[in-house]
Symmetry: C2
Subunit: 123 residues, 2 copies
């Protein structure tokens, strides 16, 4: 079994928008140097999720975790992402694909955001 | 001087999208029970930033920090937000308004995201 992670972001027209996503990818690659950690985007940026997953499957990935780097759950995560994953599963039936919660549902992430705001503002 | 914080999010059609933003607001209010901490949105949700700031000014706020709860800097933060803040400053010349970095530029937030992904996925 060969595991891989895909960090799934919204995407934007401005290339600099991707910087924080690349920074998370870099941190994960440092922590797991032998695991494939790729980025994929819903729109505006490449690759899209289907392309990223196909490339990983071609390179031998068998067990994939998609991490939505979204702050919150709206239509993109409730409707668009499940449809995309369903199509990917139809194309790659041998692949195990999990999707995590979005980062805005994670207490430790909200705590880090809160602590930073407290440190960046005067009481 | 009466300080206040406005948490500025993108907004979405789905009301549940706001939950993580409300959760950060709740944490901040617990940490600073006497400070006004309000939410405002770019689109789809109410109030918008101008409305939120006017309400705070009416209640006596004199020193405002806008915190963009965006993961990354694209057109919304580089172009839309400065234009909105410029118009707000014209309407409220006595108000001191600062805008912080977006949370995706904050190392501690990216570290928390990374640690959570490492804990939520198998090596």
């Amino acid at each position: 079994m060969k595991r891989a992670i895909v960090l799934f972001g919204h995407g934007a027209r401005d290339p600099e928008w991707a910087i924080p996503f690349v920074n998370v990818q870099t941190r994960l690659r440092q922590a797991r140097p032998t695991m494939e950690i790729e980025l994929a985007f819903l729109e505006f940026m490449q690759p899209n999720l289907a392309t990223a997953v196909s490339a990983l499957a071609t390179r031998g990935a068998s067990d994939l975790t998609i991490v939505p780097l979204f702050l919150a759950q709206g239509g993109h995560l409730k409707h668009d992402l499940p449809r995309i994953v369903e199509r990917i599963r139809a194309v790659h039936p041998a692949l195990t694909i999990d999707v995590t919660s979005p980062i805005g549902d994670v207490d430790a992430v909200l705590d880090a955001i809160t602590h930073w705001i407290l440190s960046a503002t005067k009481p």
